[in-house]
């Protein structure tokens, strides 16, 4: 039986990624499981427990994204290198604070600054552990020269807008006030304008660029 679709545009949610390089340039990887998000093709969720279809409502499988940027920002302490909005589509389980999707692809990305001092040592240990599971080194912006270099490479490879960010939105305040409003506006535009941007509509490209600038201004760039 074929189910009638509920939505004809992707759902966009916030999430974070780490970065690796398996010989094809920088590649986004999940900070939780050793799953890479490849360039120019959708990432498809596979349930470790064997759920079919995946994601199942009663399981925890699927590609995660949050409604508010604050929940995603909490993951920065695990060494996430990139924050962004991802499109989710296919079978999508809606939660009270986010979604779990079957297919995903980034829509807009922000390369985060290097985490300073003692936190970095803990992150290095986490990265070593995750790299072993992934079978490739997990890397930070310094490994690519700078956040600007990594941003340019990710933009070229994923063909989506990528911006260096001066800071991760503070998780304590990211779901309140001006920052939350701008993050929500960006997430909404990332999803609603995808058809226009893919067809090369300059107005759609400009609308997203303005929402990006608004958010960067709010987090202090």
């Amino acid at each position: 039986m074929t189910l009638a679709p509920d939505l004809a545009a992707p759902i966009a949610g916030w999430r974070v990624w780490n970065v690796t390089d398996r010989g094809r340039g920088p590649e986004l990887v999940s900070p939780v499981r050793p799953v890479a998000w490849p360039h120019r093709v959708p990432t498809t969720a596979v349930c470790a427990g064997g759920c079919r279809p995946c994601p199942a409502p009663e399981c925890r499988c699927g590609l995660y994204a949050t409604a508010g940027v604050g929940l995603a920002a909490l993951s920065h302490h695990t060494g996430a290198t990139v924050l962004g909005c991802a499109a989710l589509w296919g079978r999508v389980v809606e939660h009270t604070d986010g979604w779990r999707g079957e297919h995903g692809y980034p829509l807009v990305l922000f390369v985060l600054p290097v985490v300073p001092g003692a936190v970095e040592l803990r992150i290095r240990r986490l990265r070593r552990r995750r790299s072993a599971a992934l079978g490739a080194d997990e890397l930070g912006p310094r490994d690519f020269g700078s956040t600007e270099t990594l941003s340019r490479e990710l933009a070229r490879l994923y063909a989506v807008p990528v911006h260096p960010a001066a800071a991760m939105p503070d998780a304590r305040f990211a779901d309140r006030g001006r920052l939350a409003g701008r993050a929500d506006a960006l997430r909404a535009e990332a999803a609603a304008g995808v058809a226009g941007r893919r067809s090369g509509d300059p107005l759609a490209v400009d609308r997203l660029a303005r929402r990006v600038q608004d958010l960067l201004d709010a987090i202090g760039r």
């Binding site: 679709p5 509920d6 939505l7 009663e58 993951s75 389980v93 009270t96 692809y105 070229r156 490209v205």
Partner: protein, 53 residues
């Protein structure tokens, strides 16, 4: 990551794929590196080629 309680399951079929099939708008297309121009006979005669490599 805790995203709260599951509410419902949606079937989402975007009319336009979220995956780009071209380069980023506003960026020049990625060009392949230029292939070497074939040399004329006289130019070829003045180079050592790779016989000494």
């Amino acid at each position: 990551m805790n995203i709260g309680e599951a509410v419902r399951t949606l079937i989402v079929e975007p009319i336009v794929s979220p995956v780009p099939d071209t380069d980023l708008p506003g960026r020049p297309a990625e060009l392949a590196p230029p292939t070497p121009r074939p040399m004329t006979g006289s130019e070829a005669a003045t180079t050592a080629g790779d016989r000494d490599a």
